[in-house]
């Protein structure tokens, strides 16, 4: 299975709150192939963000096996996890999460700093990527000098600049109006067409329809909805 880049089997996540034990993810099996555009759809509190954190190697499951790019994630140490987050995953957050003191280009550069790319090369790649998301004119703007949609574009450029295996977006349009949200979705489409693997989390069925494949999550259980193509 050469196209398979993500494989989860029997993933369970439980939180212990005092006496009570809350099962947030319950025996989840998920496989994502190269070039997939998957939407994970579910209501608030269903465990979407928890799942995304595990996919992005920010959190570890209570039990189950997780392979990302043929690496068994739960066997890795902190430094290797950092390297995986840096090279394999591109995060896009609902609240953009740009560093306020850095301008657009510096924000986009950041993952490359951690990848130890030389400064000249870094600037070049950041500039190209910002041009790619339509912000070639706003390189020096700080986040507070950009609109919400523009900020999310900077965040997408930052996620893309390391050319990661998967793009992981948690409610990427959640803080944007419908029109701007649609523009971001168009950008996702373009990236998908270029062959990028995208996992997008949303509670909005309309947004989820942009994906080629929708997976529903409800009470910690996963159910394949339907697949385009």
């Amino acid at each position: 299975m050469c196209g398979q880049i993500l494989n989860m089997t029997q993933i369970t996540k439980t939180y212990v709150m005092g006496e009570e034990e809350q099962v947030v993810l319950n025996n989840i099996n998920l496989t994502v192939n190269k070039g997939d555009f998957v939407a994970i759809l579910g209501p608030s509190g269903s465990g979407k963000s928890t799942l995304m954190n595990i996919i992005g190697c920010l959190d570890s499951p209570t039990s189950g096996d997780y392979y990302l790019s043929n690496q068994k994630v739960d066997e890795l140490d902190e430094a290797s996890l950092a390297a995986i987050r840096n090279k394999e995953v591109g995060f896009i957050f609902q609240q953009f999460q740009l560093l306020p003191r850095l301008n657009a280009i510096q924000n986009v550069e950041l993952p490359l700093v951690y990848a130890r790319v030389q400064e000249k090369d870094r600037k070049q790649r950041a500039r190209e990527m910002l041009g790619r998301v339509g912000l070639g004119e706003k390189l020096q703007n700080r986040p507070n000098q950009l609109s919400g949609g523009q900020q999310q574009r900077v965040a997408i450029a930052r996620a893309m600049v390391t050319n990661p295996t998967i793009l992981l977006a948690d409610e990427p349009t959640g803080a944007l109006d419908q029109k701007t949200g649609q523009q971001i979705m168009e950008l996702f489409h373009e990236l998908h067409e270029e062959g990028k693997t995208i996992i997008m989390i949303t509670h909005d069925i309309e947004i989820a329809k942009n994906a080629s494949r929708i997976v529903r999550i409800l009470d910690g259980k996963l159910r394949e909805e339907f697949t385009y193509v």
């Binding site: 920010l58 959190d59 902190e78 950092a82 390297a83 090279k87 995060f91 609240q95 999460q97 951690y114």
Partner: protein
């Protein structure tokens, strides 16, 4: 990687200018007070030491009040002292007060010293013009004298005194030289003095006893042995009456002064380091606040692939920056204060390399010691908890 962390730390400190400044202030005050105290104490003590050295570090002073039977040392005792091994020369001193007259102008209560050739050959910067007393003057009890700067001015009015005849205690003496004008406290007495050969002074002062002798050593390292030899001679001279004489060894005095200086520097430095520790706690406090404030930033950096050790390095650098920067300002401030104080009290100002290294070493150490805990805390933050805190 270091360069990037360096930039990030710097940007962060610049962004919080006021807070960084206030945090630094503790270190500034601490380092400034250490530098100032050490430098001032050292300057003052150096002054004292050099004053003592100008008395002569290579000489041993003997004061002999003698016994009722023998009220001082005789020429024969002086001879014995000069025969001690490793003694380069012996310089006796006789003192008295008398009146001098030149050209009808009279000056009363002039300090007369009887000295020998050894005194002139061993004392630096003594003779201003003319010559000193030589062995011939001693042997033939010549009536010659050297006069201090004040006497030259008051009696000779700018006239060249050399070769002139003046009356000392009613006897005619020829002026053979003038003494170098001295400003330092220790030998300013020379300015009002008249120096004559000590053999001549015995008859002038009407005594055969010498109460004061300087013994010059050819090697100051032998001072202990020479001191005990001197003691032996004096014991013989005064029949083992220990009250008859005192031996003052400059070498011993210098080393005890040095001991006191070092102790004082250490003590004052120790007190001042307390303020450094307080400054360090200030840095730690600010860094902890900063880590809490920047939880989201830390989480994001981790999500983007920052390794824990990088986060740790970034925060540690910030702390070290703060303390080193504070240390530099403190060093400048302390040096300035020390310079001003040394200038005011007339001490010599010298900033030693040791002090500078101490200041930087101390502030870097403070930065590391008090920065490590917050930096570790930052590096251990769980990225999801950190990101969720928005």
């Amino acid at each position: 990687m270091f360069k990037e962390n360096f930039k990030m730390s710097w940007m962060n400190l610049i962004h919080n200018k006021m807070r960084s400044f206030l945090t630094m202030l503790g270190i500034v005050i601490g380092v400034a007070s250490i530098i100032a105290l050490i430098t001032i104490v050292k300057g003052a003590m150096d002054g004292m030491t050099s004053e003592f050295s100008s008395f002569g570090a290579d000489k041993i002073t003997v004061q002999a009040i003698g016994t009722p039977l023998k009220q001082g040392l005789l020429d024969s005792d002086i001879q014995k002292l000069s025969e001690i091994e490793d003694v380069a020369g012996v310089s006796p001193t006789l003192t008295g007060n008398t009146t001098v007259v030149y050209n009808g102008n009279e000056k009363k209560d002039v300090f007369v010293q009887g000295k020998n050739d050894v005194y002139f050959s061993k004392t630096k910067d003594l003779v201003e013009t003319g010559r000193g007393i030589n062995i011939l003057d001693i042997d033939s009890e010549n009536k010659v004298c050297l006069i201090g700067a004040n006497i030259a001015e008051e009696l000779f009015w700018g006239e060249d005194p050399i070769g002139k005849k003046m009356l000392v205690a009613g006897v005619t003496y020829t002026v053979i030289g003038t003494l170098h004008e001295s400003s330092s406290f220790s030998d300013s007495s020379n300015n009002d003095a008249v120096i004559i050969p000590y053999t001549t002074s015995m008859s002038l002062l009407g005594t055969g006893y010498i109460n004061n002798v300087d013994v010059f050593m050819s090697d100051a390292n032998d001072s202990e042995k020479i001191t005990s030899d001197i003691e032996a001679v004096l014991n013989q001279a005064f029949n083992y009456n220990k009250d008859g004489f005192t031996i003052i060894n400059m070498q011993d005095m210098l080393s005890s002064i040095n001991r006191v200086t070092t102790m004082m520097s250490l003590m004052l430095g120790g007190i001042a380091s307390i303020s450094l520790i307080v400054g360090g706690i200030g840095i730690m406090n600010m860094m902890l606040v900063s880590v809490t404030e920047r939880t989201t930033e830390i989480g994001l950096r981790k999500a983007l692939g920052a390794e824990p050790k990088r986060i740790q390095q970034q925060f540690l650098l910030e702390a070290v920056f703060l303390s080193l920067f504070g240390g530099t300002i403190g060093l400048l401030l302390g040096a300035l204060i020390a310079y001003a104080v040394c200038f005011l009290i007339g001490a010599s100002f010298a900033l030693s390399v040791f002090t500078v290294v101490l200041a930087f070493g101390f502030s870097a150490a403070i930065g590391i010691i008090f920065g490590i805990a917050p930096a570790r805390k930052a590096s251990k933050l769980n990225p999801i908890d950190a990101l969720r805190s928005v």
